[in-house]
């Protein structure tokens, strides 16, 4: 058995007066996690916040076209099957172009800009 060196004290001393103290902490943690996990749909009924930024509602969903640092795919509740098969920015722009109803300028231009906007 090793003796505590004289004059040296532990940096932190936790005095637990009852075994209920840590047990209560663990129970509180577990209850909090369960409420957060199962209660999320009730706290976030609309799925999207108001304001200028729309929420991504389904974290972890399969990504479609992957264009890191460019226009990238992001998970949403309903993944467009065509989007899921797109693998390049050229394909993506072509697909977005096919879904866009109004254009200005030269249809054969080398540069295409698509603006995503809201009138409000």
């Amino acid at each position: 058995m090793m003796d505590q060196p004289q004059g040296q004290k532990p940096a932190l001393t936790v005095i637990i007066q009852s075994w209920w103290t840590p047990a209560l902490a663990v129970i509180t943690l577990v209850v909090g996690l369960l409420v957060g996990y199962f209660g999320y749909p009730f706290f976030n009924k609309n799925g999207q916040p108001t304001g200028e930024v729309a929420a991504v509602t389904t974290p972890g969903a399969t990504t479609a076209a992957t264009l890191p640092a460019d226009v990238t795919s992001a998970p949403t509740t309903t993944i467009d099957p065509t989007m899921a098969a797109i693998t390049s920015s050229e394909q993506l722009m072509a697909y977005l172009g096919s879904k866009t109803t109004h254009f200005k300028g030269d249809p054969n231009a080398e540069v295409m800009i698509i603006e995503f906007s809201d009138y409000q």
Partner: protein
Amino acid sequence: MRFGYFNFAFLGEESKWAAEAAECAGDQDAFWQYHDYLFSHQNGENGGAFSKDNLKGFAATLGLDAKAFNTCLDSGKYTQLIQDQTNLAPQVGVSTTPTFAVNGKRVEGAQPFSAFQQIIESILNPVTPAAITPTP
């Protein structure tokens, strides 16, 4: 250069109605005219500025065929189109407006001309890496 407008009508009912109204104006070849009119007559969000009555009034002001426009808007002819576009936008990483896709490059927010100029020039004049030459 080619420029397209893609609806991301996520701010509420009046966003959707306005987007549908612009499409209805497009039936009379007045999409861009109506589009510009909407942006120049913004007045808050979902407070009545883009109520259906006002949207019909805008069409009349622009000299569109009121009967055809009103029928189009009231019938919900473009409701699904606007919904589909709005659903698609987040799938390419769009979460705020305006967002621009410039040949696949994302530009977020109301950026100055120079921001677009830089990207466009990099597309038109890609930098070719210098050749490696043996040193004597």
